[in-house]
């Protein structure tokens, strides 16, 4: 737990009916976690967390994160309730954007506080500093596995502890006893000597008039009661009976439906459209051309191309209408670009080493290479990937009288609101955004292009419009996980010790630590060159870790094999300075019975990756028959510091493993003539139940800051799989996905390397 600084503060107010509300805010310049970038200017305040205690003794946590399936709301509420010593059965949460009555999302008024007008209590209590609360709540982004790490650690826990302290003070005053004698437990305050006991709510109003403590005392791990305990997720019942409302389920009076097609080649435009057949279809209302949407970067990458949408009384009419359009697309400067030309470009740029920037450079790599008993070398490649959230992109917008109301599932409410305002030429105050449950996000729903299209369509036809992308549009107009090539060289001495690690890859994004390795090596030179493409790109579950995890954890395996050592033991020997990493690696190996022999055709591989503050080691077992890979079992060991919600973390690891396996086994977006070739689950496959492995998750609790949960399980699965395939077949997978590789073809590469100068593996169907 970091120190609670003067850059942050607590505020309080009285609820109608005698309850208390407490907020935790962060000021500009705060160095806490990753929050500071979201508080941009003097006078801006990020109100980060709210908790209210009403007169029925019910505690409500108000969660400023979007729900895309990760269950953050429940974990965050556990953190708050524990510090508050609340009775869990009297605790609930509201997602800040989770709205049941669609017409009542009140940015800046009423907010989420059951009809309480925020400024009325905010202004007198905190000098008006929190007037920007509505804006501040909008600033919350969901991504980077941040919910528990920042909102939970620096918001929820502090709010809970503060409320408890204020309630205890209020009780001490009322009973005229020292505060030290007041015990808070299960939403009751008691005083042993006098035998008095009252519910929290009895003191809520008095507490609300107090100044919140500047620095409430937080519990130590051994004092936790609700954190670390299995609790059921609050959102699940609505997801088994059809009542959960996703963005696609929004219904607005007088609403039309639309579907859209953007120029297939990125950057393309429309030369000519013949819409006569479309307009003859029953139910079709209009055919609307949309300008290129410049959508700002969260990670980077832009998409700019013209689109055409068909607006109709129902989705099916709109879809038929779109299919009936006769469109001449303009040629683009990228019509000759394909996946092959992109990888040729990567190879050229890596080889040219122009303007290489080092991430890390320490020790004398060249000397180590010159003195090496063997130098091994390999190139790795991964393709572009789409996100394919289960819920295709959609947004509903109603533009009327200079105001725009939008219903959408998104990972960045503020970013969306601003982008929509910019596209319409409105002040941001005139855009109201309702954020709904997301049927998956994985990074895609941090880009506002689909919401902008819906807003422009509504403005165009003068009625509310629900825009639903087809799956084909969703696959072909994504912000893709970037394709990457990464080149390695390692020096080994005569005993197989790793003496130098050299790595050059194309196109660095974030997190910055993604290409680093935890293993001890005297000389390291890790760097990157720029090799831009025209393919829009963005965050994809675990961002750059997903590519670099595959590269580094596969190559260290190659190093171990070259050293003729066991890949697990080789890693472990180089983690003596990293006890936490070593413990996680060991746990996975032990749980998977690493040393137990496997039958012919079967193999086992291991990986270790830290990302977003959480360390994950994975052991994969495969069976490869006739070149077909079946993943039998995945054993994951996870050290998140502390698991607030152990079952929630376990579910996230299971999810991340399947997401990563889908990508490793099948995932490939190929570029042809500047556009994406794939279009739906028939040619961009997802792992199905019969191919899903048994997944065992082992959680390690260490005394470290809490790490993320949603992403850290993804980076290590591809390399553990590739290493297992090597173990089973002797074929080294240096290019994903696995299903494009002929595993019946076996290289004699290790033998070649030992006695000859390094040979760079080439890619292609023979690989």
């Amino acid at each position: 737990m970091s120190k609670w600084t003067r850059r942050a503060f607590l505020t309080t107010g009285v609820l109608v009916g005698g309850g208390i509300i407490v907020g935790v805010a962060i000021r500009p310049g705060n160095r806490t976690g990753k929050l500071s970038p979201h508080v941009t200017a003097d006078g801006e305040t990020l109100v980060h967390t709210w908790v209210k205690l009403d007169s029925n003794n019910v505690v409500t946590a108000i969660i400023p994160h979007s729900e895309m399936g990760q269950g953050a709301g429940t974990a965050l509420t556990q953190m708050l309730a524990d510090e508050l010593d609340a009775d869990w059965s009297l605790v609930k949460f509201e997602e800040a954007p989770a709205i049941r009555e669609f017409a009542n999302y009140p940015l800046g008024k009423g907010m989420l506080l059951a009809g309480v007008d925020m400024p009325e209590f905010v202004v007198p209590t905190v000098d008006g500093v929190l007037l920007k609360t509505a804006q501040a709540l909008d600033l919350q982004m969901t991504g980077g596995s941040l919910s528990v790490r920042t909102t939970g650690a620096y918001g929820m826990r502090v709010a809970g502890a503060a409320v408890k302290e204020m309630l205890r003070s209020a009780a001490a005053e009322a009973w005229d006893v020292p505060i030290g004698e007041i015990v808070a437990r299960d939403s009751q305050l008691s005083h042993k000597a006098s035998g008095r006991s009252e519910p929290y709510a009895a003191f809520a109003q008095t507490a609300a008039e107090m100044t919140p403590p500047a620095s409430p005392k937080l519990k130590t791990q051994d004092e936790f009661k609700i954190m670390g305990r299995h609790v059921e997720r609050h959102d699940i019942p609505s997801k088994v009976d059809g009542t959960a409302i996703f963005a696609l389920d929004v219904r607005i009076p007088n609403m039309l439906y639309a579907t859209v097609r953007r120029a297939p080649a990125f950057g393309g435009g429309i030369a000519k459209i013949d819409d006569s057949k479309t307009r003859a279809i029953k139910g079709v209302v209009d055919v609307v051309q949309l300008p290129p949407a410049e959508v700002g970067a969260v990670v980077g990458g832009f998409s700019s191309a013209e689109s055409v949408a068909v607006v109709a009384e129902g989705f099916w009419s709109a879809k038929q209408g779109l299919d009936a359009l006769d469109i001449d697309w303009l040629g683009t400067a990228n019509d000759a670009v394909s996946s092959d030309t992109i990888f040729e470009q990567f190879d050229r740029d890596i080889s040219a080493v122009v303007d290489r920037e080092a991430d890390v450079a320490e020790g004398d790599v060249e000397a180590a290479m010159a003195n090496a008993a063997q130098v091994i070398e390999a190139d790795y490649q991964v393709p572009f990937l789409a996100h394919t959230c289960m819920e295709p992109l959609n947004a509903t917008a109603a533009v009327k009288d200079g105001h725009c109301e939008v219903w959408v599932g998104c990972q960045s409410p503020l970013g969306f609101r601003q982008a929509i305002a910019d596209a319409l030429g409105f002040d941001v105050e005139n855009v109201t955004l309702h954020n709904l449950l997301m049927g998956g996000g994985f990074g895609r729903k941090s880009r506002a292009d689909y919401a902008i299209q819906a807003a422009l369509l509504s403005a165009n036809v003068g009625r509310p419009v629900q825009l639903i992308w087809t799956r084909e549009e969703d696959v072909r107009q994504d912000f893709y996980r970037p394709a990457v090539q990464s080149r390695f060289r390692a020096a080994l001495d005569k005993d197989g010790n790793l003496t130098a690690w050299e790595n050059t890859y194309v196109n660095k994004h974030e997190p910055v630590d993604a290409p680093l390795i935890p293993y001890s090596v005297a000389a390291r030179d890790i760097g990157h060159v720029s090799s831009p493409t025209h393919i829009p790109f963005g965050a994809w579950r675990s961002v750059d870790h997903s590519q670099h995890g595959f590269f580094t954890e596969s190559f260290i395996d190659e190093v171990a094999v070259a050293a003729e050592q066991d890949p697990y033991e080789y890693r472990a020997a180089r983690l003596q300075h990293q006890p936490r990493q070593l413990a996680v690696l060991k746990k996975a190996a032990e749980a998977a019975e690493w040393k137990r022999p496997l039958a012919k055709g079967r193999g086992r591989g291991i990986s270790l990756q830290e990302s977003f503050g959480t360390i994950v080691a994975q052991v994969v077992e495969v069976t490869v028959v006739d070149g077909q890979t079946q993943v039998d079992r995945v054993v994951a060991a996870v050290d998140p510091g502390f698991a607030v919600s152990p079952d929630g973390l376990t579910a996230q690891i299971e999810s991340a493993v399947v997401y990563g396996l889908t990508a490793a086994l099948y995932g490939e977006i190929t570029i042809e003539k500047g556009a994406v070739k794939q279009g739906n689950f028939n040619d961009y496959e997802a792992l199905r139940m019969s191919a899903a492995p048994k997944i065992e998750t082992h959680i390690i609790t260490s005394d470290n800051p809490m790490g993320g949960a949603g992403e850290p399980g993804t980076p290590g699965i591809a390399p553990a799989l590739a290493n297992a395939i090597y173990d089973a077949t002797g074929s080294r997978v240096r290019r994903l996905p696995v299903n494009v590789i002929d595993l019946q073809y076996r290289f004699e590469e290790i033998a070649q390397r030992r006695n000859k100068p390094p040979i760079r593996q080439t890619f292609g169907s023979e690989a």
Partner: protein, 167 residues
């Protein structure tokens, strides 16, 4: 004009009979529990039951269902609100993450258990392979189906569910 019997209620809707059932159910009948995922019968998010069989409503025209018995996720629980044993097992195993595919998963599972009350792992794989879960909850879905199967027929929440924690 088509007449659809949905969750036991007869409804008349004015829709082109070639329209896929999915859109009639969501837009004309206002039941949004059934989801759109791919439009080509690849993902199973739109799975409903037609005369008890699991079908993909995104490729089944309204005309094919005229006068027949349709069940959606909204009709899975009993009229008195008692959850179907699969729904109870889904909660017990904390199956849903984003939850978007779960209506379809539940309808496929319901059809399976009706025709095969004690499915093997292979039976479950075969019946459920048409339903993609991008959150990857296959292990939990399978465990929940087994728990529900052990709980026997009917909608009663019985002891088998409480004892069947093999997650």
């Amino acid at each position: 004009m088509a007449v659809l019997t949905i969750n036991g209620v007869k409804r008349e809707i004015d829709v082109d009979p070639s329209t896929p059932l999915l859109w009639a159910i969501r837009e004309q009948l206002g039941l949004t529990g059934t989801k759109f995922g791919c439009g080509i019968a690849q993902c199973g998010a739109c799975t409903i039951r037609l005369n008890g069989n699991a079908i993909r409503s995104c490729v089944t025209p309204v005309a094919a269902a005229d006068g027949q018995d349709i069940q959606t996720v909204e009709g899975l629980a009993s009229d008195d609100g008692t959850l179907h044993r699969l729904q109870t097992a889904w909660i017990k195993h904390q199956v849903p993450q984003c939850g978007y595919c779960q209506s379809g998963q539940l309808m496929s599972a319901a059809a399976l258990l009706e025709s095969n009350p004690t499915p093997s792992d292979d039976d479950i794989d075969k019946a459920m392979d048409g339903n993609i879960c991008r959150c990857g909850m296959y292990g939990r879905i399978k465990a929940a189906i087994k728990t529900a199967a052990e709980a026997g027929s009917g909608n009663a929440i019985d002891d088998a569910i409480n004892e069947g924690d093999d997650r």
